[in-house]
Amino acid sequence: MRLIGVDVGGTFTDLVYTDTSSNQTVINKVPTTLEDPSIGAIAGIKTLCARLNIDPGVVDHVLHGTTIATNAVLEFDGAKTGIVTNEGYRDILHIGRHQRPLNYSIMQDIPWQARPLARRRHRRVVGGRIAPPKGEVLQPLDEQAVREIAREFKAEGIEAAAVCFLFSYIDPSHEDRAKQIIEEEYPECFVTSSAQVAPQFREFERFTTAAMNAFIGPKVRDYVANFEAGLSAANLDADLHIMGSHGGAATASLVSEKPILTLLSGPAAGVLGGAWAAGLGGRDRLITFDVGGTSADIGIVIDGRFAEATARDTYIGGYPVLVPMIDIETIGAGGGSIAWVDRGGAFRVGPQSAGSRPGPAAYGHGGLKPTVTDANLVLGRLDKDHFLGGDMSLDSAAARTVIDGLAAELGLDPLETAAGILTILNSNMANAIRSRTVQKGLDPRDFALVAFGGAGPLHGAEVADMLGIPEVVVPAHPGITSAAGLLTTDLKYDAIKTEFQVQGAIDLSKLSGDFASLEADLRRQYAADGIADRDIRLSRAGDLRYLGQGYELRIEFPDGIIDAATLEEVWQAFHAGHEAEYGHVFPDSQIEIVNIRMTGVGLMPKIAAPSPRGDSAPAAARLHSGDCVFRIDGALRTFETIYYARQRLATDVPVPGPAVFVQTDTTTVVPPGWFATVETGDNMILRRGH
C-alpha cells in the first residue's frame, strides 16, 4: 500500500509518503495556500510523486488533516444558516445556559449572542412536540409549516439549515421528517438535524452543534469536493480520508455530511503521531507535548488509548459542541511567546506570540519584543548557525538586546531574566499537564513525555523535571509528527444513544437492543466504506453518573448479552472510576446510565517504523561546543556544552548532558544530569541520571 498524509498548518503544509511494502518513507514541506489549502496540498503531492518518480495513480490512500472547519468557526465565516425548531423555543440558541462567559465584566460579548450561528430572523418555529421518557407525541409535527419555511428559506437565500427539536435524541422522527421535507422543497440546501449530529440530551448544546454543522457545512463540503477534484486532475484515484477530532479518520462523504467531526483535526493528528512514535519503543502511557510557535497542545494516552474530552468540556470559539474529541489541553505557550511585565508589575510569558513575522528578535525580522526563542538563544540552548538545520541563522545580538531591555524593566540580571522566561513558560506548561493528570487522579511519574513540534524538544526535559516524569521521548522527525500521525489512523466512527436508565430498574432487553442497533448502524457505515467485517473492531461504553449528578464518567461495557452479572461489573467499574477521578465515592447511591456508546474502528494500513539513520559515535556526531546556561541547585551556571548533529548519532549510545542536538526541524536540549540515547524507531530518549 502507498499512503500519503497531508497536514495543513497555518504556514506550512507537511506531507509524508510511505510505501508499506518497501518501508520507504519520504517527507515534503510546501507553503500553505491560505485562500484554498487544497491547491498547495495537491501541488505538494505532485512534487512528492515526481521526486519519488512514481505515477500518482499508484497511491492508495490520501489522509488529510485540515483546519478548514475550525477556521470557519473562529473567523465566523460560514453559511447563511436557518433553523427550524419547536414552537415556544425560538431562542434556545440565543439564551444558551444564561451564563456569562466572564464573571467580572460589563463590556463582554456573549459569543452566541454577538455572533449567532443563525440570526433570529432565520430561526423559525413549527408545531410538534415529543416528551420523555418514551417519546410520547404531545403534538404532531406541522408538516405544512415546515414546507412553507423551506420555501421561504429558498427565497431568502438560506444556504444551510438545521432542524432542532426537543427530545429528538429519544425519537428523531419529527426531525427526520422535517429534514426530508426541506430537502424535497429545496434540494440545494445543506440540511442537518440535531439528532443526526449529536443524539444526546441538553438542548442548547445539541442545537448549537447542529447549527454549527450547518454553518460550516457548505464550506467544508465544497472544500472536500475541490480536494477530490484536484486529486482526480492530478491522476490520483486514491481514497480521500479526513482526520476527525476523535483521533480517527472518516471518509470524504461522511465529513461532507458531518463537518463538525473535523474541528480538532490537526491537533488530534499530533496526539496520534506522538503516540505512534513512542509506541515504536513499546511505551503506551504517554503525555504528548506538541509545542510550536504560539501554542502547546497536551494530550494523554493510557494503554495506547487517547483520553477523550467529556461532552461538557468541548468548546470551539466559545460555542459548546457535543462531538467526540480527543482531550487536548491547549495553552498559549510556544517559541514565539512574548515575555512582558504587566501593569501590576508581574513577570509574564505569553499568551501573546510574536508569530513568524516579525517573530522573535533573534529572527532578525525586526521583532522588538523578548520571546522564548530569544531566551533560549541567550542561554546558549539554540545554535545560531544550526537553527532549522542551518536554513536560517539567528541574530544573537538582537536577542540579547531585547532580553537586556526586559531585565532592566524587572531589575534582574539578564541571564536570570532569560532563565526566568523559561521557568515561567515551563511552569505554565507543567500546570497544564497537571490539570490533565494530577487533577484526574493520574500520577505523571507513571508516564513518558513525548516532546515534538518545533519547540517541544527544547523544553521537554525541564518540564518533565518539574513533574517528576522519568523519560522524554523525542520522535525522529518532531516537526512533522502530525503528518506522520495521519498515517497511523484507522477509520473511526462513534454511535451514541441517551438512555436515562437507573440501577435497580434497568430494562435489560432495551439496553441490549439499543447496543445492537448502534452496532448495526456502525456496520452499515463500514460496509458502505468497503471495510471487511474482519477489519472492524467494536467496543462499548456508557456515560454513567450517580443519579442526580450532572457530569458523567465514561465506563467500558462488556461485549455480548448484558445480564445482571455483567451489569454488576459495570457498577463496580463506575465506583472505582469515580474514586480515581475525584478521590471520592458514594457507595450507597444509585447509578444512572445516561448514554450508551459504541466506537468502531475499521483497520487501515499504516506507516512503518523508521529505521535509525545514524551510525556515528558521539565524537563523530559532534558539531562544536559552546556555553550553555542551566540552573543547578538554585543558581545559574555556565557549562561548556557540545552541540551534536542528531541524525548522525548511532543507536544505544548514551550521551550525557549538558548537550544540544540539532536537526532540520527542531533542537533537543539535554540538561546536566540527563542522558540522551537513540533507540528503536529512531526515537531519542532522554532520561535523568545514569
Binding site: 415556544g88 444564561h98 466572564l102 464573571n103 456573549i110 508589575g345 534582574l412 475525584y582 458514594f586
Partner: protein, 600 residues
C-alpha cells in the same frame, strides 16, 4: 506608563523574585480550579452542578483569600474570608481549638455566610503542626430545614430561627472522626437529605483535595516562600485596583433605586424600599456609603448582611467596571483587591441588618445594591457601565413522592442595560449572580415538570442609542401536584435608562391554573400549592436603554425589526426610524422624522 512597572516592583516592596512568585501564584490558582472542577462534577443537586452556585478558595490563617475557582459564582467565593473570620471569632468565644483532621461546617448568616443555605466546609491546613491556612468550599444547598421546602422563596420567615438550621462553626469531622450525631441531625431535619448530604460530602472531598495540594505546595517551596508569594500577589492585586481607582476623577457620586420588597403588603415599611449609594473617590481609595438606604425589614428576610452580601455586591461591581476582564484580562482575585475599598453601611438598615433579622431571601436585594452602585459610578465612568440591569427570580419547585421530597431550584435570568457602543446582553444572569439554567431535557426527564416555553419577549426592546437587553419568558407546568415559592425583584421598578435612554421593562410572574383565570403573583411568593396542569409563567425584565434612541444607527433598528425585536410601529415611535412593509429602511422619511424630533 511603560517606564513605570520596574519602579513599581521596587516601590511595591516585593518580597521575592518575580519568577518564583509567578510560579507559585500559578500553582495556587491551579489548586482552586481543581477544587471547583471536582465539586461541580461530584455534586447532586442542579443548583450546584448546573447553576454552579458554589465557591472554592484557599485562605491564609487569618482568612485572607489567596485564590478562588473561576467556575464559581461571585457571591460564593467572595464571602469566604468572612466565613473564616466568623469561624475564628466563634472559636475564640467558645475557647475551641482547631486540630489537624478537623472539618468545620458553618452557615451562620451573621458570621460571614449571609444566608443559611450557603453552607461552607472548611478544612484547616496544618504543616508541621502549625495552622497555615484554610481550604474552603461553599455551596447553595437545596434545603436547610426551613419552614417550607427548598431554600429559596422562604419569604415569610420572620426571624433567623425560621430560616432553618444554624450551624455556627461546628466540627463535622473532629480530628478525622465524623461527628455522627451532627450528621444524623442534618439527615433528620433537611428535606431531600440524600441529595443535600451527598453534596455536603462532595464539598468536603473537594476541600480536602485543596488542603492536600496546598500542603504539597508548601512542602515543595517552603512556607516562608509561599507566604512571600501570596503576600506579593495580594499587593499586586491591590496595586492594580488602586491604579484603577486613581484614574477616576475625585468626587462624590450618588444614586438611588428602589426594590419592590413585598409589593402586596399593606405595611409601607415592607415595600418600595430605597437603596442609596454615595461613592466617594479620593485619590486611590473609594468609599461606598449606603446612607439613605431603607431600614431593615425586621420580620421579613430580604435584609443583606454587610459581611457576605453587601460587601460582595460592592466588590463585584467595582471590579467589573474598573477592572473589566474583557478589557483588562485576567487579574488574580484575592483579598488585596478589596483593600482600597471602604464600605459604610448604616446599622439596622437593609444593607447592614442586626441579628436576628432574617436574611434568607437577600439575593435579589443584593443584586439591586450592585446595580445602584453602578448607577452612581456611571457619573464618573459613563463608558464603562451598563444602563439599569434587570434583576432575577429564584424559584423553588417541590413536591412529595411516596414519603420523600423532591426539590428543584431555578434562577430565572434578568439582562443588562445598554452600554457605550454595545447593546445590552439579552436574557442572562446579572451582576453577582452567574449561574446556569437547567436543560429542559434534563428537567422533564427527571422531575414532574414540563417547560412549555422558553424564548425572548416580543416587541419590548428598550429604546436607546444602544438598546437594553431583552428578557425571556419561561413557562413551567406541573405534571403532578406540588408547590412553588419565589423570591424575585423588579415587578414595580423598571431598570433605569442612562443618558437619554429609556427605562427598561419590569418583570412579572403569572399563575395559570389548569382551570380558572390567570392571576399575577408578587415578586415574593411564599410556598403556594399547585396541582397537575397548573402553570407558572416567568416573564423576565428588560434592561435600560443607553443614550438617545433617535441617535441609534438606523440600520441597527432595521436589523432589530427583521429579527422581531421591534415592531415597525415602535421603530417609528421609539427610534424615529421609518421602515417599509418589506422591512427596508425609508431613509428620507427617517431623516425627516428625526429632524422634526430634534427641533422639538
Amino acid at each position: 506608563m511603560t517606564a513605570e512597572p520596574a519602579l513599581k516592583i521596587r516601590d511595591g516592596g516585593a518580597r521575592m523574585d518575580p519568577v518564583t512568585a509567578s510560579v507559585i501564584q500559578g500553582a495556587m490558582e491551579n489548586i482552586a480550579v481543581e477544587m471547583g472542577h471536582k465539586l461541580m462534577r461530584m455534586s447532586y443537586s442542579s443548583i450546584i452542578r448546573e447553576s454552579e452556585d458554589f465557591g472554592a478558595a484557599l485562605t491564609d490563617p487569618a482568612g485572607r483569600q489567596l485564590c478562588e475557582t473561576p467556575q464559581s459564582t461571585p457571591l460564593q467565593s467572595g464571602p469566604i474570608p468572612g466565613y473564616i473570620e466568623g469561624i475564628l471569632q466563634i472559636f475564640a468565644e467558645r475557647g475551641d481549638v482547631l486540630a489537624p483532621g478537623d472539618v468545620i461546617i458553618h452557615n451562620s448568616a451573621y458570621h460571614g455566610a449571609s444566608h443559611g443555605p450557603d453552607v461552607a466546609f472548611c478544612v484547616p491546613v496544618f504543616v508541621a503542626g502549625n495552622l497555615v491556612g484554610f481550604s474552603v468550599t461553599t455551596a447553595h444547598h437545596l434545603d436547610i430545614g426551613a419552614l417550607s421546602p427548598g431554600s429559596c422563596g422562604i419569604v415569610d420567615a420572620m426571624d433567623a430561627y425560621a430560616e432553618g438550621l444554624q450551624m455556627k462553626a461546628l466540627k463535622i469531622y473532629d480530628a478525622g472522626r465524623p461527628n455522627g450525631p451532627l450528621w444524623q441531625m442534618l439527615r433528620d431535619n433537611i428535606r431531600a437529605s440524600d441529595l443535600v448530604v451527598g453534596d455536603m460530602e462532595a464539598q468536603i472531598a473537594a476541600a480536602r483535595i485543596g488542603a492536600d495540594r496546598f500542603i504539597d505546595l508548601i512542602e515543595r517551596y517552603g512556607l516562608a516562600t509561599v507566604e512571600a508569594a501570596y503576600e506579593d500577589l495580594m499587593d499586586y492585586s491591590e496595586r492594580i485596583m488602586r491604579d484603577a481607582i486613581a484614574a477616576l476623577p475625585d468626587g462624590r457620586y450618588n444614586a438611588r433605586t428602589f426594590i419592590d420588597g413585598f409589593e402586596d403588603s399593606e405595611d409601607p415599611a415592607r415595600r418600595d424600599l430605597p437603596i442609596e449609594v454615595t461613592a466617594i473617590v479620593a485619590g486611590d481609595t473609594i468609599t461606598v456609603d449606603f446612607a439613605g438606604t431603607a431600614p431593615q425589614v425586621a420580620d421579613r428576610p430580604i435584609n443583606m448582611p454587610l459581611k457576605g452580601t453587601t460587601d460582595c455586591a460592592v466588590w463585584l461591581t467595582i471590579r467589573s467596571i474598573l477592572l473589566d476582564t474583557a478589557v483588562h484580562g485576567h487579574i488574580p482575585q484575592n483579598s488585596g483587591l478589596t483593600r482600597p475599598i471602604k464600605i459604610v453601611a448604616p446599622p439596622d438598615s437593609l444593607v447592614n441588618p442586626t441579628f436576628p433579622a432574617p436574611t434568607i431571601a437577600r439575593f435579589c436585594s443584593g443584586n439591586q445594591a450592585a446595580d445602584t452602585l453602578m448607577k452612581a459610578l456611571g457619573q464618573a465612568v459613563p463608558r464603562q457601565i451598563s444602563a439599569g440591569v434587570g434583576n432575577l427570580h429564584v424559584v423553588s419547585f417541590s413536591g412529595i413522592r411516596a414519603t420523600s421530597h423532591w426539590v428543584h431550584m431555578e434562577i430565572h435570568e434578568g439582562c443588562y442595560g445598554g452600554r457605550f457602543g454595545k447593546d445590552g446582553l439579552d436574557a442572562v444572569d446579572t451582576l453577582y449572580a452567574n449561574t446556569r439554567n437547567n436543560p429542559i431535557e434534563d428537567i422533564e426527564s427527571h422531575l414532574p415538570l414540563r417547560v412549555n416555553r422558553y424564548e425572548l419577549r416580543d416587541d419590548v426592546c428598550p429604546p436607546g442609542k444602544w438598546r437594553g437587553g431583552i428578557g425571556s419568558i419561561r413557562e413551567f407546568e406541573f405534571t403532578e401536584n406540588g408547590g412553588v415559592s419565589v423570591e424575585g425583584e423588579g415587578h414595580v421598578y423598571p431598570p433605569w435608562g442612562f443618558d437619554g435612554g429609556a427605562d427598561g421593562h419590569t418583570s412579572a410572574l403569572i399563575f395559570v391554573p389548569n382551570q380558572g383565570n390567570s392571576v399575577p403573583l408578587p415578586s415574593k411568593l411564599p410556598n403556594k400549592m399547585a396541582r397537575a396542569g397548573d402553570k407558572i409563567v416567568m416573564v423576565g425584565p428588560c434592561g435600560g436603554g443607553y443614550g438617545d434612541p433617535f441617535e441609534r444607527d438606523s440600520i441597527r433598528v432595521v436589523e432589530d425589526v427583521r429579527d422581531g425585536y421591534v415592531s415597525i410601529a415602535r421603530a417609528r415611535s421609539d427610534f424615529g426610524v421609518v421602515i417599509t412593509a418589506s422591512l427596508e429602511l425609508d431613509e428620507a422619511e427617517t431623516e425627516k422624522l428625526r429632524r422634526e424630533q430634534r427641533s422639538h
